[in-house]
Amino acid sequence: MIRRQSLCALAAVLACVAIAEHAAAQSEDDDVGFGDLDTSAIETTDDEPERASTTYSITVRADSAVWTERLGSAGFAKLRFTSDPRVITRYRDFRFALGIRAEGDAAYVGQANYAPRVRYDTATRDTYAWVLRPGETFVAWDRPRGGISMGFQSVAIGQGEALTVVDLLNPRDLREPGLTALEDARVPILMTRGGFFGEHYRVEVVMTHQTYFRLVPPPLGQWSPIRAALLEDPELVSLGIAGALATKDIAWQQEPRMFSGRSQSLLARGVWERGAFSVGGYAGYVIDPQGVARLPDAATLAQNRFSIPLEHRHFGMVAGSFAYTKGAFAVFAEGALDIERPINVLADSPVDLLIDRRTLARWMGGGRYTNARGGVLTVEYAQGLLHAIGRDDPPPLVPTSVATIVARYDHAFARDTWRFGSVVAVTGRGLRGGGFGRVELAWIPMDGLRITAGYAIYVPTDEPSAIRGFERHDRAMLSVRWDDSWTF
């Protein structure tokens, strides 16, 4: 009993001490939290806060990488310097933008015999060493309920983020599959846009006047899925063709030319949004971004250096999109019908290539969840289906029924000083083509400066896919980015 009373007394004393400490801590917190506040009056104007201005901005980046599975022999994978100077200004109802993108990659420039360095063929160096192209450069006339713009622009269509079946107008930077950031993927091209909109709808017509398909790996380039398909095909190996191809320098010859009568495409869209719903309809006569290959004649194929024509022909497309948002969740989907789209089909001979037109149905669906702390998880799935295939029709060279699933998670923390990003993707027919993953951690020590470290891993299989043959493509990455702007 005594012991129990003693314990009770001790508990009471400890409780009193704890309460006293808590009160002291509270008081200390209050002194810091509400102490020394600046109560002086701020000089605030009621002048036009959104004054007309001209903004000059620039982004400078250095992206480096090493092939982690080739460190001993040729690990130097990338040292790309990128500069994006931009100017944007307004005058009355007009907006003017001028931008340029300049890139140089030391891993592909010079090709002096420094080890460890891969020696690339000419086609690869032409694609990766230097890029100089317009950035967003346009003039726009903005009216309260509509507008028109012309110049080098990017337009995002549909609801998909990483995967889309309707967003075909802007060509993509496909040089490093799985590694290109979403913000770098879309290449601005010359186009005219015009439309009108109301509170819940928008109607727009977009006409492109240019093609730009040079940012794809050459047929036998490191990042080309065709490389493995050609050089490891048992039939081509047995015929000795694969061995002969391996010594050649092969490039794509993109058709039509960048600016020509056949470089035009047209797309109209109508989008209706109300409450949690968004519904869109699209119709167009667009250029096939993938292209169909034509094999050169035998004399050309016998040369050590030649180009394979890759034709980007037109086809009709009708499509729709849908999105619904509820709380922290959003779901979205797109569907497209490609009418008489050109595709390569298999010929009887392994050294021949045929072109046919087929009707394709493609769709994607996805969802996004945002947690209470700002982390964003996005999952997207896309699938293609081939229609109108007859009994005697030869099968497509590149499977059209390829499925892809991509999951991304992004999270900023420590007051946005650190950002984590990750991507996992699986692709191929029946998702049997393998997958890849990428993680990145960015440190932002001060506004405008971002240092990012990351790692990417590829796990391909023997099934046809966009990452076939990437067994030794895992890489560690480090990049430094600086943004600055001046407004006058």
Partner: protein, 275 residues
């Protein structure tokens, strides 16, 4: 910037331009001792309309490193609530990021929000999220800058005649009614000092997890076009008597009743045009 963070930024800015500004016509007897009546009066206030504003936000971390953001907004009332269009003007790597929000007054309806990231040329519809996360790396969260919904809390009047820097206030304690509300707002307890003059919660103190306490002060409160408006907001995160970080929001410019603000400003195509 992730969509969720930006959405919070947007939502916060709505409140910066609206909820921290109330007309002096708001009436409540200074002798009232009913905390629910006080907070209901705060919630019901007629706010400024057709506002155009620019705000400078300075974030200072515990080590003394400072970051500055500038935000520009347009907002207007409509029959069902408030519409706001917001753009980040600086820093450079966030410049042009825009948010469009249609805030419904009816709590059961989700707000409609679109985020525009100039780097991806896309306005994305985003879901409303928890209110406890920081936005733009600041000490403010969505919940800090929205009007407290009295029905979400158990309320008690701690002092009906508390003075803050010589200003008469109601000192009210608010405890979330459920764990879900606590998670959503990020506080296990809130203390509010509501000014009897302006009906603004000029001081608040929120108890968070991990021993952190967040203090918010609305300063330099004065009338703009007849509307009581806080021109400086200070948020401090404190832990065990140590300042972890501080965010100061200052209105650089502000105009109510701007005739250039129209319905056409609050559409996705307008959002995609940038600042």
């Amino acid at each position: 910037m992730t969509p969720s963070r930006t959405s919070k930024l947007f939502a916060s800015f709505v409140v910066l331009t609206v909820a921290t500004a109330v007309t002096a016509s708001a009436q409540l007897a200074p002798t009232s001792t009913d905390p629910r009546a006080v907070l209901s009066a705060v919630e019901r206030q007629d706010t400024g309309d057709r506002a155009v504003a620019r705000v400078r936000m300075t974030i200072t971390d515990g080590a003394g490193h400072r970051r500055e953001r500038t935000l520009a907004s347009r907002s207007m009332r409509y029959a069902g609530g408030t519409k706001t269009l917001l753009f980040v003007e600086s820093p450079a790597d966030m410049r042009g990021t825009g948010l469009l929000s249609i805030d419904h007054r009816v709590a059961t309806e989700d707000d409609e929000q679109w985020l525009f990231l100039p780097s991806v040329h896309r306005a994305t519809r985003i879901g409303s999220t928890g209110r406890s996360g920081a936005f733009l790396g600041s000490d403010f969260s969505y919940g800090d800058l929205t009007v407290v919904e009295p029905d979400d809390f158990e309320l008690s009047m701690l002092d009906a005649n508390a003075a803050v820097d010589g200003e008469a206030t109601w000192y009210i304690a608010a405890t979330p009614r459920s764990a879900a509300i606590r998670t959503r707002i990020g506080y296990s307890r809130l203390e509010l000092w509501v000014s009897k003059r302006s009906l603004l919660p000029i001081r608040s103190k929120g108890t968070m997890g991990g021993g952190r306490v967040k203090f918010i002060a609305l300063l330099d409160v004065r009338a703009v076009s007849g509307i009581q408006t806080a021109h400086r907001l200070v948020a401090r995160t404190v832990r065990n008597g140590q300042l972890e970080s501080e965010t100061v929001l200052e209105r650089v410019s502000l105009r109510y009743g701007d005739s250039s603000v129209t319905d056409a400003d609050f559409t996705v195509p307008r959002l995609e045009r940038g600042p």
